[in-house]
Every structure is written in structure tokens, then in C-alpha cells.
């Protein structure tokens, strides 16, 4: 088998005395669409930050393309839509186009051709169907439109892995359906490996082809269809939380 894109082994993490991850191990294969679910406070965002290299590993290890994450320098290969993406300063004077351009910033140099950059930005906006809003101020767009701009920003560097942390929070239901369609296209047509984080176990199991249930420990890893067939009780144990409570948790 080829090297997994992400390989997490025996990862544990604590904030002060408070343990949030315990002995978590799993692999993410290239081309897969992974759902990472767990109740609020179960350590999902922490795990993502460790994979992205913005939180320091305390115990265990993470490899990206077979390289320890601390030494993985090709940042353009991994992209991210944050849980906090929507909490930016609404008055910030930037257009959708300028925001998408930020996705190319780290690798930009003074001598790179501006028309090339513009072309890449245009493509990314086309992909998320936001071309018409390119010159609109980001704060003036609707929640769903902003979300798509942030996805374009994450896509513009042509990443191999895209991680989305609870991206549907604050997006209305109509747009959520469209949104899943977009993700599915990215995964199938562009071959981008996806990790989608959610605290809502409902819709996600029908969309992804690999499911991780996290609640400090990894309670389930495998086929989402098999997970669907489990009894409610078994699912609750895997999810690590009472499911009935979760369905109201929006």
C-alpha cells in the first residue's frame, strides 16, 4: 500500500491538567473523504491544529506524506477552512478576490506574474460559483457566500489535502446541500483528500467514505455505512455521547 497522506499514531494532548486527546491513532489514505465527528469539546479542533502544525505535539507523532509534521514544509499542499473563518471583522475593507488571494500569499514572491495569480484566483472563484461577487466586499456577502469564498481561498493553492472544521455552522440548510455537493466534486473530480469535521453526526455519514468518531479517544474508525447499521445504543457508545442530546445541539 502507498504511504498514507496523514498518519497519526499514539497521539495524546493536554491543556494544563486537562486531557483532551488520549492515544489516538489512524491513517488517512490519499483520495479519501473522511468525516471526523464528536460532541463539542471532544478534541476535534485540537486534533486538526496538531495535524496542521499550529499546535505543538506533546506525545505521539503525526506524519504527512511520510514526514514528521514538524518538518513538513510544503504548506501549500495542506489547506484549511477554520471553525472561526466566519468570525472575521465584518468591516474589514477587502474584496472576495483579495481574500482568495491570501491563499497564495505564503508562496508568493515579488517577481511572480500578477496575471498568473489573477488567473488562479479567478479559477478558484469559478469553482465555488462566486465569480459574480469577485469585487464585492467580503463583509457584505451572506454567510453561505462567505463560506464559499473561504473555500476558494483554501483551494487556490491547489492543495492535496483540505481540512474543514465545522464549516456548515451558520450556513442555512439549502446551502448545506449545495455545500456537500461542492465537496463531493472536489473529492471526485480534483482528487483532493478531504477531512470534514462536524459535531452533527446526521448528514455527514451519508457523504463521507471514511468515518472517525472522536471523544478524547478514537471510538470508531471505518465504513460509515456499517456505522449507520449499528443500533442507536451502539452508536451512542461509539460517538461517546448521548445522541439524543446531540440532535438538539445546533
Amino acid at each position: 500500500m502507498s504511504t498514507p497522506l496523514v498518519s497519526v499514531s499514539h497521539l495524546s494532548h493536554r491543556y494544563d491538567q486537562h486531557s483532551v486527546l488520549e492515544d489516538v491513532s489512524f491513517d488517512v489514505e490519499e483520495g479519501s473523504f473522511v468525516g471526523l465527528v464528536g460532541p463539542n469539546g471532544s478534541g476535534k479542533t485540537t486534533l486538526i491544529k496538531l495535524i496542521l502544525g499550529i499546535e505543538r505535539i506533546q506525545k505521539g507523532s503525526i506524519e504527512i506524506f511520510g514526514k514528521p509534521v514538524q518538518r513538513f514544509k510544503n504548506k501549500g499542499h495542506i489547506s484549511f477552512v477554520s471553525q472561526k473563518a466566519n468570525s472575521f471583522n465584518r468591516g474589514f475593507p477587502a474584496t472576495a478576490k483579495e481574500v482568495v488571494g491570501m491563499g497564495l500569499t505564503a508562496r508568493s514572491s515579488l517577481f511572480q506574474s500578477q496575471s498568473n495569480v489573477n488567473e488562479q484566483i479567478k479559477q478558484a472563484l469559478e469553482y465555488v460559483n462566486m465569480t459574480a461577487f469577485a469585487n464585492q466586499n467580503i463583509g457584505e456577502l451572506s454567510g453561505g457566500q462567505q463560506q464559499r469564498v473561504f473555500i476558494a481561498r483554501a483551494l487556490v493553492s491547489k492543495p492535496k489535502l483540505l481540512i474543514l472544521d465545522e464549516p456548515t455552522v451558520g450556513v442555512d440548510t439549502d446551502n448545506v446541500q449545495q455545500f456537500y455537493q461542492l465537496l463531493s466534486t472536489l473529492n471526485r473530480e480534483l482528487g483532493i483528500t478531504l477531512i470534514l469535521v462536524s459535531h452533527d453526526i446526521g448528514t455527514i455519514t451519508t457523504q463521507v467514505n471514511d468515518l472517525l468518531c472522536l471523544n478524547k479517544n478514537l471510538h470508531y474508525h471505518g465504513d460509515p455505512n456499517k456505522f449507520e447499521q449499528l443500533s442507536n445504543e451502539e452508536r451512542s457508545t461509539f460517538y461517546g455521547h448521548d445522541l439524543n442530546v446531540i440532535t438538539h445541539d445546533h
Binding site: 474589514f92 475593507p93 477587502a94 469585487n135
Partner: protein, 284 residues
């Protein structure tokens, strides 16, 4: 005034310096404002005042130094920026208290050194309110150097500064060295504040960094435009303010900042009239 500009070197220096400051204060001001850091300017300008007062005190000492009060001001300002960053990393959950701490430190030190240097004199007066005839050739050269340094760094790091100002976490994930760039930005801000004091004075530095930006944000459609319009408004305020200050014999800090306020008011008014016109047009 043209004749006076040709004949008096100090006036000429002031005018050039004004043009330089009218460029860099709004340029950095744009980043400062969008990061919601406008209070920094006030904090650091008082630290600069402390440095200036310290320099005046040192001049009174028998073994006087080569460093001028203005240069001491710049040094203090940079030190103040470094201390703010240190405080912020110490008080992660209360980052906003770094500014009041540094502000009080600045005012406290300034009072002590002004008293030790024999109280308020015309020099201190010109640093507080600005002056049309206080810029020496040395000051001008120092501010010219500062301007070149600031403009080059902002030009080279423009995209990174922009990305960091908008979303620090994403910037970091995409490989930008956030800590380093942020530090550099703070030092640039310290330099610009110290430089601006020569023209508008300690009390009004923050106005020159923020008012043109506030006006610009009302008309600009993108971040780049926001920067360009801020500089335009800044320069217009400096030029009109310096000329009227000269003729009215009023310290230019006052006239420049009032011009900037006037520009803001006019812009808001024009926008209001335009939007009313649009509504009328739709109704008829």
C-alpha cells in the same frame, strides 16, 4: 509662502517631512486600523515623548551625549513596541492591557524627565503640538531614512501583512511566519509614530494614523484602494494644515488634524447626499 519656503531651510525641512509623514502614517495606519489596534499609536507616542524628555534632560548634563532628543524618542518608541509585544505574550488572555500599561509608563517617565530638564519650554511645546519651523536637517534625513525603510518593507511584505491582518490562523497555516512579521510590523509602527511627532506632535499622532483611514474606508472598494485613498487624504490634510498653520501662526498639529476631520465630515456628507439622490431617483 513659496518665497518663505525657498528662503528658510527649517520651513523647507518641515514641508518635506510633512509630505513623508503624510505618506507613511496613513500607510501603516491602514494596517493598524483594520487590526483594531488604533490605541497603539497613543500609547507609543507618549513613550516617544518620554524619550524626547529624557534626551533633553541628558543635554543638560555635563557630559552631554551625541544623541539628540528626537533620536532618543525613536529609541524609546521602538523599546515601547517591544515591551508591548512582551506584555501581550505574558497576558495572553488580556492582551488589551498592554497598551494602558505602556501608555502610563510613557506619561509617567515624560513628566519626570520634563521636570528634571527644567519644565515646559518651547522645545517641548513643539513636540506636543507640532511646529512649522522645528525640523533640522538631521531630523529630515532620519525621517527620510525611516520612510524609505518603511515603504520598502511594506512593499515586500504587503501580501503577508494583509493576510495576517485579516486572519492570523489561516496565515500561519499557509506558512507565514506570523510572529516575526508581527514584530517587524510593530517596530515599523514605532518608527512611524516617532517620525510623525515632528510634524503633528505627540497628542495628535494617532489622529494622523487613523482619520485618513476612517475617511478612506468610506469610499474605497478594496484593501488596496483603502491604502491609496488613506495616503491621499493624509497628504491633503498635511499640505493644507501646514500652509494654514504657517499663515495663522498656529501649531500645525491642530490645523492638520482639523483638516483631516473636515475631510472625513465632507466625505460622509457627500456619501449621504449621493445615497439620498439614489433613493429619490428610484422613487421618481
Amino acid at each position: 509662502m513659496l518665497e518663505a519656503l525657498l528662503n528658510y531651510e527649517l520651513l523647507r525641512n518641515t514641508f518635506f517631512t510633512g509630505l513623508l509623514v503624510g505618506l507613511i502614517a496613513p500607510l501603516l495606519g491602514t494596517f493598524v486600523v483594520v487590526q483594531r489596534q488604533a490605541m497603539i499609536a497613543d500609547g507609543l507616542s507618549h513613550v516617544t515623548l518620554a524619550g524626547i524628555a529624557f534626551g533633553m534632560f541628558m543635554q543638560k548634563q555635563p557630559m552631554s551625549t551625541m544623541i539628540t532628543p528626537f533620536q532618543f524618542g525613536m529609541i524609546f518608541s521602538i523599546a515601547g513596541a517591544v515591551i508591548i509585544e512582551k506584555l501581550r505574550s505574558m497576558y495572553r488572555e488580556f492582551q488589551e492591557i498592554a497598551i494602558p500599561i505602556i501608555h502610563s509608563l510613557g506619561v509617567g517617565l515624560a513628566i519626570v524627565f520634563i521636570a528634571l530638564a527644567n519644565g515646559i519650554n518651547t522645545d517641548i511645546y513643539s513636540y506636543l503640538f507640532g511646529s512649522v519651523a522645528a525640523v533640522s536637517r538631521n531630523d529630515l534625513l532620519l525621517i527620510l531614512g525611516t520612510t524609505i525603510f518603511v515603504v520598502v518593507i511594506v512593499f515586500v511584505l504587503y501580501k503577508k501583512l494583509f493576510a495576517l491582518s485579516f486572519d492570523e490562523e489561516f496565515a500561519e497555516v499557509s506558512g507565514i511566519r506570523a510572529r516575526f512579521i508581527h514584530y517587524l510590523f510593530m517596530i515599523l509602527t514605532a518608527l512611524v509614530i516617532a517620525a510623525s511627532i515632528r510634524i503633528v506632535g505627540v497628542l495628535l499622532v494617532s489622529a494622523l494614523m487613523t482619520l485618513p483611514v476612517a475617511t478612506s474606508m468610506r469610499v474605497a472598494k478594496s484593501f488596496k484602494q483603502t491604502i491609496w485613498y488613506s495616503i491621499l487624504y493624509g497628504e491633503v490634510a498635511v499640505i493644507i494644515g501646514l500652509i494654514s498653520g504657517y499663515y495663522l501662526e498656529i501649531p500645525p498639529g491642530g490645523t492638520i488634524v482639523l483638516t483631516a476631520v473636515l475631510l472625513l465630515g465632507l466625505t460622509l456628507l457627500v456619501k449621504k447626499i449621493k445615497s439620498l439622490g439614489r433613493i429619490e431617483g428610484e422613487h421618481s
